[in-house]
């Protein structure tokens, strides 16, 4: 098992190498002019300033040379300096990633818990009214565009009902958390700051709901159909023949068998969630990687674009590895040698 994990992690190095080439090639292939995106009009009129700018960021060198310099620095743990913020990309990522991580964890918890629960209810009450309602919800989750859903949710809960604050991670007038893990909810619990916990939870509920809604829909549908299929298996009849309560048959024998394909979908959902992050963070002013990526892309901030891409690639690989390990935990037939 340990060897399997190590092998997978070593493959990750190869993958990251590939990702770095791809990102570098694609971002430079687009006809673009970083100087034009970042310098003012007057500065642009002065060729000396433009030349100095390009020399400063290494933009005047051939692409392969730029790549080698980048890779050399990367191996030393230096991801370069962001053109837009002027700070090391590593520091930027360290600042924004916890916010994104926290949001995606909450979105996934929301998607998995509600998704599995409503999938089970849907399957157990197949074709009854509750099933119809839950199926409508899950189809909406899969098909509603997230930017539209985000705006509707925001205008209803923040505008009309005024239940939740409309953006940000925390009220900056009340709290200014520094240090810790950067995951405000966890920090608040660790520090025993209950006011901060309440405030950060209030901020995270809506974006997590919007972000996780799609994945929740996927999980609900997958759980429902797998559970229905599993419930017709011979071993379920065996479980019933033992004299087990129906609820125990469902939760003890059927659900864990039905969950194996659900894990795959949850993993795919998580990757999808990273993509949806850009919209959701923008709309809810969530200071995370999504917003950072968006701003870096619009200002052609190459070091930042590469940094974000590599970080997301690592996340993908780690999540997929976790899923593969989880398979083995649930299903003894696919335990790795």
């Amino acid at each position: 098992m340990l060897r399997y994990i190590l092998r997978r992690l070593s493959l990750m190095v190869v993958l990251l190498f590939g990702v770095s080439i791809m990102v570098f090639a694609i971002s430079h292939m687009v006809p673009s002019n970083p100087a034009a995106a970042n310098l003012s009009q007057t500065a642009l009129n002065d060729p000396e300033i433009v030349a100095a700018y390009e020399a400063k960021w290494g933009l005047d060198k051939p692409l392969y040379e730029q790549y080698f310099i980048y890779m050399e620095n990367l191996l030393k743990g230096d991801m370069g300096t962001s053109i837009r913020t002027g700070r090391p990309v590593m520091d930027d990522l360290k600042q924004y990633f916890p916010a994104t991580l926290e949001l995606s964890i909450f979105a996934m918890i929301f998607a998995i818990v509600l998704g599995i629960l409503s999938g089970v209810l849907s399957a157990v009450f197949q074709n009854k009214p509750i099933d119809q309602v839950l199926r409508t919800v899950s189809v909406s989750g899969v098909s509603l565009p997230s930017f539209w859903f985000a705006l509707v949710v925001m205008s209803f809960f923040c505008g009309t009902l005024k239940w939740f604050p409309s953006g940000g991670r925390i009220d900056p007038r009340l709290f200014n958390p520094t240090g810790g893990t950067g995951l405000y909810v966890i920090d608040a619990i660790a520090w025993g700051e209950w006011g901060m916990l309440k405030d950060s939870l209030a901020h995270i509920v809506l974006p997590a709901l919007v972000l996780g809604f799609f994945t929740m829909g996927l999980i609900t549908r997958q759980t429902r159909s797998n559970l229905l299929e599993t419930m017709s298996m011979d071993y379920i009849r065996t479980a019933r023949a033992k004299g087990m309560k129906e609820s125990r048959v469902v939760w003890g024998h059927a659900l864990n068998n039905a969950l194996i394909p659900v894990i795959t979908v949850a993993g795919m959902g998580f990757c999808n969630l990273l993509g949806g992050m850009v919209f959701v963070e923008k709309i809810f002013s969530w200071p995370g990687i999504g917003q950072y990526a968006y701003l870096s892309a619009t200002t052609l901030d190459f070091p930042a674009i590469c940094g974000v891409s590599l970080l997301i690639a690592v996340t993908y690989v780690v999540v997929n590895l976790l899923i593969d390990i989880l398979y083995g935990v649930i299903d003894p037939r696919i335990r790795y040698q």
Binding site: M233, D234, Y235, R237, T238, A239, R240, A241, K242, G243, M244, K245, E246, H253, N256, N257, I330, D331, P332, R333
Partner: protein, 319 residues
């Protein structure tokens, strides 16, 4: 003989949106204490539905079960689902046909045997594990201690069926229903499983319903036999009576279809035709289209199940 199970006028209909199909009609039989009753029939004769009706494991939304199934004096069909759960796996246990798919693939065999023990007895996990281990040994599983922690996919079909038998025997049921327990196994394993079941029958004082389409198993294992066809009993007799002197043309056909070493033939004998579909039963006697003795009367009237002076029952006008 004291009766353990008495089924009276059992009718089972499968209901769907468009129509209702009768799959068991007016089935009555009884089973004495420590008696072994064989139920024989082709596919679609209703033998599995009969056993699932006794266990009340048919889907209640699509199967309507009428009649009485009296077990130790109580009518199982009047019990609540919760009361029935206390009977299932405890007083009546069942072994299924497909050992490959009848065990939960993601639980260890030991845990699956412990389950009915924990469900129906007030015992600790430790005690249940000990008992489960003894059951595995009783069912002839070598190296039971290690097998206890194995998953079904690590075992052969014969071993899995032994585990199924161990699960069924866990709570020492008064009645064991074996629904084609050896059909999916190859012949040498079949013999081992049958030996095991005979052995267990000797040790535990319980009644068995053996459902099969294999007359060899019946002659070897059972006291009495029901021959079923299209959801009805065609003939009921003791094993001796049935094999010495089969009365119903269908039974005769079944016995003739058995290949014999002493008889040299190029072709195996078969009963002409097919079992009719449950939705399209022929008028009159259900068997008449395949019966070589069929007369005009058989095409119009349904014969009743007649009881003969020697105790056997036959559903045929010729008797």
């Amino acid at each position: 003989m004291e009766k353990l199970l008495e089924v009276k006028n059992l009718n089972v209909d499968f209901v769907n949106r468009d129509d209702t199909v009768r799959v068991i009609s007016n089935l009555s039989f009884s089973l004495g204490k420590s008696e072994v009753l064989g139920i024989v029939g082709e596919s679609g004769s209703g033998k599995s539905v009969t056993s699932l009706s006794i266990m009340r494991l048919l889907n209640e939304a699509s199967a309507r079960v009428r009649g009485t199934i009296s077990f130790g004096g109580t009518d199982l069909l009047t019990l609540s689902e919760r009361e029935m759960q206390a009977v299932r796996g405890n007083q009546i246990a069942m072994i299924f046909q497909e050992p490959m798919t009848s065990l939960n693939p993601i639980q260890t065999c030991g845990r699956q045997i412990m389950e009915p023990l924990l469900l129906h007895n007030q015992i600790s996990k430790k005690e249940a594990a000990d008992k489960a281990l003894r059951l595995l040994e009783l069912c002839g599983i070598p190296d039971a201690k290690n097998r206890f922690h194995e998953y079904p996919h690590q075992m052969s079909g014969g071993m899995r069926q032994r585990v199924m038998i161990a699960i069924a025997l866990a709570c020492s049921p008064k009645l064991l229903i074996a629904d084609e327990p050896t059909t999916a196994l190859d012949v040498t394993i079949q013999a081992q499983i049958l030996e095991l079941m005979k052995d267990i029958r000797k040790k535990n004082d319980m009644s068995i319903i053996m459902i099969t389409h294999d007359l060899g198993i019946i002659s070897d294992f059972c006291d009495r036999v029901l021959i079923m066809y299209t959801g009805e009993i065609f003939e009921a007799a003791t094993v001796k009576q049935l094999f010495r002197d089969p009365l119903h043309p269908y039974t005769q056909g079944l016995l003739q279809a058995l290949p014999r070493i002493s008889r040299q033939t190029d072709r195996l004998e078969a009963i002409e035709g097919m079992v009719p579909d449950a939705g399209q039963m022929p008028k009159g006697c259900h068997f008449h289209p395949r019966c070589k003795y069929a007369q005009e009367r058989c095409k119009k009237e349904r014969p009743e199940l007649k009881e003969l002076p020697d105790g056997r029952c036959v559903r045929c006008f010729r008797v």
